[in-house]
C-alpha cells in the first residue's frame, strides 16, 4: 500500500486511491441498506431496553437506565430484592434451553451433513437428482414443516406413534410435544431433519474444492480411506466447515419459529427469542423484552467471537494469499 502511494504524490489521486474511492461508492448503497435494516433496529432495541416503553405507546417511554436488566428494590417490609432480567429464572432457563439446543442440533447437523456431503460427492448415477431431492426439507418454510411435524408427532393421530406401535418399538402412544422429557427431543429432531441439507450443501461445496490429484496420490501410496479422510479431506474442508458451523450456530441461537409452533408455552423448550417475544407482546413489557433481545444479541456475539478466536477461523481470507 505505502509503496503504491508514493507513485501518486505528484498531484491527483493514485490508482489505488481512485480504486478505493470507487469501491466506496459501490459499497455505499449496501452500507446504507445495512444501516437501515440492521444497525438502526439494533440501536433502537438497545435504547428501548433502557426505557420503560410499552407496546401501546412506543414513543412515550422514559429513560430508566439499567432497571430492566438489574435493579434493587426495597419492599415495604424493609426487605431488599433484586429485580430484572439478569435475576429472572425464566430468562436463565431460556438461555440454558437455547444453548443446549444450539450445541446439540449443530453437533448432529454437522456430523450428518458431513456424511451426506461425502455420499453426494461420490460419483453415482442420478447424483443430480439426489442432490436436488435432499434439499427439500430445507426448502419448505419452517412454519409449514413445523406444523407438518406437529401432526406427525401428535399423540393420538400421529403417524410416528402409529408406526412405532406397529413395529413394537413402543408399547403405548407417546405424547412427544407435550411431555417435558421429550419436548426438547421433538424440537431437536425436526430441526436436525430440516437443517442437515443446508450443512450438507455447504460442506459439499467445500469438498468440491479439494483437488482430485491428492486423492489419486494417496490411492497410489495405498493409504487406507479412513486415514485419507482424517489426514486429507478434513483439514482441507476445515475452512468451509467452520463457516458452515458459524452460520448454523447464529441461526440456532436465535431459534424461534420451530419452538413457537411445536411447543409454544412449554418451559422445557422456551428459547431466548420466544421469551423475549412473549414479554414484548403478550405481557405488554416491551422494554423488558427489548432488554432480553439485547442480551440475546450479546450472547450470540460472544459465542461467535469465542468460536472464531478459539478455532482461529479465518473469515477475512487473508491466510489464503
Amino acid at each position: 500500500m505505502a509503496t503504491n502511494d508514493v507513485g501518486g504524490a505528484g498531484g491527483g489521486l493514485s490508482l489505488s486511491q481512485q480504486r478505493q474511492r470507487a469501491a466506496f461508492w459501490f459499497i455505499a448503497p449496501m452500507l446504507a441498506a445495512l444501516f437501515c435494516v440492521a444497525a438502526w433496529p439494533l440501536m433502537r432495541t438497545i435504547w428501548f431496553s433502557l426505557t420503560n416503553t410499552a407496546l401501546s405507546d412506543l414513543y412515550g417511554g422514559e429513560w430508566i437506565g439499567f432497571d430492566n436488566y438489574l435493579s434493587l428494590r426495597v419492599l415495604d417490609s424493609g426487605r431488599w430484592i433484586w429485580r430484572g432480567t439478569l435475576v429472572d429464572p425464566a430468562w436463565w432457563n431460556a438461555v440454558w434451553n437455547t444453548v443446549r439446543f444450539a450445541f446439540v442440533s449443530v453437533f448432529f447437523e454437522t456430523i450428518l451433513g458431513l456424511i451426506v456431503a461425502l455420499v453426494l460427492n461420490a460419483e453415482f448415477k442420478g447424483r443430480g437428482l439426489v442432490r436436488a431431492a435432499i434439499l427439500i426439507p430445507w426448502a419448505i418454510p419452517t412454519i409449514v414443516s413445523a406444523k407438518m411435524w406437529a401432526w406427525m408427532l401428535n399423540d393420538q393421530f400421529g403417524i410416528l406413534n402409529d408406526i412405532m406401535l406397529r413395529l413394537g418399538l413402543i408399547d403405548q402412544k407417546i405424547a412427544w410435544t407435550a411431555s417435558v422429557d421429550t419436548a426438547m427431543y421433538a424440537v431437536l429432531t425436526v430441526d436436525i431433519w430440516k437443517t442437515t441439507p443446508f450443512m450438507a450443501l455447504l460442506i459439499l461445496a467445500g469438498l468440491q474444492m479439494v483437488p482430485r490429484d491428492i486423492y489419486e496420490a494417496a490411492k497410489l501410496d495405498g493409504i487406507n480411506p479412513v486415514k485419507v479422510f482424517f489426514k486429507i479431506t478434513l483439514p482441507l474442508i476445515r475452512p468451509a466447515l467452520a463457516v458452515a458451523i458459524i452460520f448454523r450456530m447464529l441461526d440456532a441461537l436465535r431459534i424461534f419459529d420451530l419452538v413457537y409452533v411445536l411447543t409454544p408455552n412449554s418451559a422445557a423448550t422456551k428459547t431466548m427469542s420466544v421469551i423475549s417475544r412473549e414479554n414484548m407482546i403478550d405481557f405488554d413489557k416491551f422494554a423488558y423484552g427489548a432488554a432480553q433481545s439485547t442480551l440475546l444479541f450479546a450472547i450470540i456475539a460472544l459465542f461467535v467471537s469465542l468460536y472464531i478466536w478459539l478455532g482461529k477461523v479465518d473469515l477475512s481470507g487473508e491466510g489464503q494469499k
Binding site: L55, D76, D155, A175, S179, V180, N265, S266, D282, D284
Partner: protein, 425 residues
C-alpha cells in the same frame, strides 16, 4: 350531438345505479378477524349474508389460530401499529381492559341494543364507562358424556370429580378389554395456554379453592383446596387421560372425542353441534351436563368465556364497521349462530326462542350455568392479567407434568404473583 348523447346516457346510467344501491355511498369491503374454531369460518359467510345484502358492503373474514393466546399477540401487534387493514376484531371476554384504548366507544351507537343483553356481560366489556366491545356469544363449558357407554356399564353422569374418575376408569378398562385400545376416560385442555387457566380455575373453584385472584385483588391461589384440586387433576394424566392431554387445546380434545375415543370431555358448547354432525362418530350418542364438583354439596364451577366484536379505532370504514358490529351483536345474527354453531346467545329473550330450543336443546338448559359462571381474574388484575394467567397456567402445567408437587408450585406462584402485583394491580 354525439357528445350530448353520450352525456345524457351516462347521467341516466348513474341514476339507475343510484336507484339500485339506494344511496350514493360506495360499497365498502370490511375485514373481520377472528379465531378459527369449529364451524366458525364455514358459517361466517351465511351469517353475514343478510347484512351484506342490506348494505351492499362485503365482509372478508381473516381467520386466526384457534389459541386465544396466539390471537391476542397478533392483535396487540396490529393495534399497536395502528393497522388500518382490519376493521373489526372478535375479542375474548378477558381482553377488554388490556385493549380498550384501541377500540371505538360503542356506548351511544348501541344504546338501544345494550338493554336486551345480560347486564353482567355488557359490564365485562365496559372499561371506565367506555363500551369497548359488543357481545356476540357467551360461553360456559360443559361435561360431555357418552350416553351409550354409561348405559352399558350402568352408570349415571358423575356429580363429583372422584365419581368421574371412577366411572371413566371402569369404562376405559372394560372397553379396552373388548379391544378398543384407543379409548380414554376423560379429555380436556391441558396445553400451557389460556385454556388451561380456564380448566384449572374450574377444578380449584369447585373444590372451594377460590379463583386465583379474588375480585378485591387478594391473591388467594395458595391454599389447601387448590392443592387438592391440582393433585386430583395430576392423578388423571396417564390414567384416565392420555399423556398427550398436556398438549391438547379445545380442538385436539374434540378430535379424540368426536372420533369416539373418549368417555368424557370438558369443552365449550360449540362442540355440541359438531359432535352431532353427520361426520361424527358420536352423533346422537352423547349428552351434556354441568361440570362435577369437589365434594357433594359444593357448587359446580364453569369458567365464563365468550366472544365480542370490537371496532378498531384505526379502521378507515368505521361507519360500516359499526353497522356490522351492531348486526353481529343483534338478535338475528345471534339466533343464527345459536342454531348453526350452538353458541350461547347474550340476548336474554333468545333463551325462550322456540326455534333455538328445538334445534339446540342445550341452549335453554345452559342459561343458569353461564349466569353462575366464574369470571377469570381479568377485572382485578387489569393490564397484568395475561402475565397472571401465564404464570398460573405454567404452575399448573408443571404440576401436571410432574415437575414439583402442587403445594410447591402454588407456593412459588404466590410469591411470583405477589412480586408482580407490587404495590397494586
Amino acid at each position: 350531438m354525439n357528445i350530448m348523447k353520450g352525456r345524457a346516457f351516462r347521467a341516466t346510467a348513474t341514476a339507475a345505479m343510484l336507484a339500485v344501491f339506494g344511496a350514493p355511498v360506495m360499497a365498502e369491503e370490511i375485514f373481520y378477524v377472528s379465531g378459527a374454531v369449529g364451524a366458525a369460518v364455514e358459517n361466517f359467510k351465511t351469517l353475514v349474508k343478510p347484512w351484506e345484502d342490506a348494505t351492499g358492503n362485503t365482509v372478508t373474514m381473516v381467520p386466526m389460530p384457534a389459541s386465544t393466546t396466539d390471537q391476542f399477540g397478533q392483535y396487540r401487534l396490529w393495534l399497536a401499529a395502528g393497522a388500518t387493514d382490519i376493521d373489526l376484531y372478535q375479542t375474548d371476554v378477558i381482553w377488554a381492559p388490556q385493549l380498550a384504548d384501541h377500540f371505538v366507544d360503542l356506548t351511544d351507537v348501541a344504546k338501544d341494543l345494550v338493554p336486551t343483553h345480560f347486564p353482567s356481560i355488557i359490564e365485562s366489556q365496559t372499561v371506565n364507562g367506555k363500551l369497548v366491545a359488543l357481545p356476540i356469544f357467551t360461553d360456559a363449558p360443559a361435561l360431555y358424556y357418552r350416553k351409550d357407554l354409561l348405559e352399558k356399564y350402568g352408570k349415571t353422569p358423575p356429580k363429583t370429580w372422584a365419581e368421574l374418575a371412577e366411572t371413566a376408569k371402569i369404562i376405559q378398562d372394560g372397553e379396552r378389554a373388548e379391544g378398543k385400545a384407543d379409548l380414554w376416560g376423560f379429555v380436556w385442555q391441558g396445553n400451557a395456554y389460556e385454556g388451561l387457566t380456564c380448566d384449572a380455575l374450574e377444578w380449584i373453584k369447585s373444590y372451594g379453592g377460590g379463583q386465583i385472584v379474588e375480585p378485591d385483588g387478594t391473591i388467594s391461589v395458595n391454599n389447601e383446596n387448590a392443592v387438592a384440586a391440582l393433585e386430583m387433576a395430576k392423578s388423571w394424566v396417564g390414567t384416565i387421560s392420555p399423556d398427550g392431554v398436556l398438549a391438547y387445546q379445545e380442538e385436539e380434545a374434540r378430535g379424540v372425542w368426536q372420533t369416539g375415543n373418549a368417555v368424557f370431555m370438558r369443552n365449550w358448547p360449540y362442540a355440541y353441534t359438531l359432535g352431532n354432525g353427520d361426520d361424527s362418530a358420536v352423533k346422537g350418542l352423547f349428552g351434556v351436563t354441568t361440570l362435577p364438583v369437589g365434594k357433594e354439596g359444593d357448587a359446580s364451577a364453569a369458567t365464563l368465556g365468550g366472544w365480542n366484536v370490537a371496532v378498531s379505532k384505526y379502521s378507515t370504514h368505521q361507519e360500516a364497521a359499526i353497522s356490522l358490529a351492531l348486526y353481529l351483536a343483534g338478535p338475528e345474527a345471534q339466533k343464527q349462530r345459536a342454531i348453526a354453531e350452538s353458541n350461547l346467545p347474550t340476548i336474554i329473550a333468545l333463551y325462550d326462542d322456540p326455534d333455538i330450543a328445538a334445534a339446540q336443546p342445550i341452549i335453554p338448559q345452559w342459561k343458569d350455568v353461564f349466569l353462575n359462571a366464574v369470571p377469570r381474574p381479568s377485572a382485578p388484575t387489569l393490564g397484568k392479567y395475561n402475565e397472571v394467567s401465564a404464570k398460573f397456567w405454567s404452575a399448573v402445567h408443571q404440576t401436571l407434568s410432574g415437575e414439583g408437587t402442587a403445594a410447591e408450585n402454588l407456593e412459588l406462584l404466590e410469591v411470583e404473583l405477589t412480586d408482580l402485583k407490587g404495590s397494586g394491580w
